[in-house]
Amino acid sequence: MSASNTDFVLAVEGLTVSFDGFKAVNDLSFYVDKNEIRVIVGPNGAGKTTVLDLICGRTKATEGSIRFRNRELTKMKEHQIVRAGVGRKFQTPSIYGDLTVFENLEISFPRGRSVFGALAFKRDEEVMTRVSEIADMIFLSELLGTRADLLSHGQKQWLEIGMLLIQDPELLMLDEPVAGMSVSERRQTAELLRRITKDRSVIVIEHDMQFVAEIADKVTVLHQGKILAEGSAEEVKKNPKVIEVYLGH
């Protein structure tokens, strides 16, 4: 497959990964525009999380290419992909429970990422300002000194989002950001997402179609590792194939 340069932020072409013969993602191609919010939906086992794993380098592709601003990601290591500007939030909140909220954010601050950089890293004004900025944004400015263990589930999700934001990624990937949240938390999160998606592209995996309709520019429906449908939330909802997959059986 020849990969040509595009204007897309992310171009996924012919992506395939197989685990012992089982193709979890099968010849998948899709493109994400600048500043676009793309939502990926699909039934369990459709390969949604695997797609994110592939993009961020956690899983190595068997075939195909993933290009981010025309840089091939499939050959890069995870940390290089992150440094190139791709941020990834996991399904279950993955934060450092033993550290405080402040330290969680500070560690994510994109400076002193090498061994000796980390040794020489100083907690200066720039770091402090940036951390409190982000903390405000994720509703945690009162809790900076709290150990992250002690946060509620929703707060942990926000904290992880904050840890991504502090790196100012160009492409943000969120795996079920509102799963397990209370109604009010959900509302706050939707608002948060709208605010943070202003200057960047976002890929969101989400089940809640109402939430999807609220935020999505474009929706991609995955089924058995392949794209079943793609379009606006409204179009997708009406697509008979999608209805069958979701409601059939």
């Binding site: 012992d20 089982f22 979890a24 695997t50 794993d53 899983t59």
Partner: protein
């Protein structure tokens, strides 16, 4: 080095060397199977594995003494009873240890390593207190000693054949247990998803205890069999521990087939090198080879690529 020998002599020697490799292979399989079950299926690192083997050896020693004193006419067959007793004793001790120590540590694999190391020290001293610091000599029934003469040069040691059959027998039994029995299904389901297995009514605590007991029991049988070829003393168990772990890790902890394949690879590498190099150098080279391969393929020879 071979110039002075006739082709047929050389062929015979190579045949015998191949057989020596097979014996070594069987020894490795016996050593490693119990550990592979415990480590591979439960993720527990049992540093006291060697001491469980030696327990089997001591049981054999005691049994042989009892038979010699009270039932000399049955002495020829005591070995089978000794192996059964070794299995029961080591298995029971294993279950006790699982209950007392291991079950509290399932989420901390590296800590099981330290705790079982402590256990191994205690067992060693216990053996020393009971049986004395010196090695004990286990008298074997006559039919187990000696060899079968196949040709002029090729001689096959009977205990080698015995160890091989035992290795095959135990491997087959374990495989059958794992893949054919209800218990095997339970073990595998507990390994894959503990909460779910518990939720569908599997008594996970019991499965763990039985699995650990089985692993230790097999170690006991192996120890019993090794009285034919090795020494029985309080610290003899330590001689086996590094080799055993390497075999299991090299095989890719999760699969029994992997353990067997790795035992085969390592034993063949070692025994063929031993023939051309000095014993020490071949040991070093074998270990280096294993470490090197593990660096290239850290997950071991056989392991499934899993979707995370």
């Amino acid at each position: 080095m071979f110039a002075d020998y006739s082709t047929s002599e050389l062929m015979s020697i190579f045949a015998m060397q191949g057989f020596a490799g097979l014996i070594l292979f069987s020894v490795f399989v016996l050593m490693a199977l119990g550990l592979a079950i415990i480590f591979g299926q439960m993720g527990v690192i049992n540093m006291a594995h060697g001491e469980f083997m030696i327990l089997g050896a001591y049981i054999t020693y005691l049994t042989s003494n009892i038979f010699a004193d009270h039932m000399p006419q049955l002495f020829g067959s005591y070995f089978f009873i000794a192996m059964a007793l070794a299995f029961v004793a080591a298995g029971a001790l294993g279950m006790l240890v699982e209950w007392a120590l291991i079950r509290h540590l399932y989420h901390r694999p590296l800590d099981t390593l330290l705790a079982t190391w402590g256990l191994s020290l205690i067992l060693q001293q216990l053996y020393r207190t009971i049986f004395g610091a010196r090695e004990v000599g286990v008298t074997l029934p006559d039919w187990l000693m000696g060899s079968i003469q196949l040709t002029d040069v090729i001689e096959v040691p009977i205990n080698g054949i015995f160890v091989m059959s035992l290795a095959i027998g135990i491997s087959v039994t374990v495989a059958a247990l794992m893949y054919r029995s209800r218990w095997g299904i339970q073990v595998r389901s507990v390994v894959q998803n503990r909460p779910m297995a518990g939720a569908v009514g599997i008594n996970t605590a019991k499965v763990d205890r039985l699995t650990f007991g089985l692993g230790c029991g097999i170690a006991g049988v192996a120890g019993s069999a090794f009285t034919m070829i090795g020494s029985t003393g309080p610290t003899s168990g330590q001689l086996y521990i590094v080799d055993t772990f390497l075999v299991v890790v090299f095989g890719g902890a999760q699969s029994l087939l992997g353990t067997i394949a790795s035992a085969f690879t390592i034993s063949q590498a070692q025994s063929s090198m031993e023939f051309f190099l000095s014993g020490s150098m071949s040991k070093v080279l074998t270990l280096l080879f294993v470490v090197f391969i593990l660096m290239l393929r850290p997950q071991g020879l056989f392991s499934l690529k899993v979707r995370r």
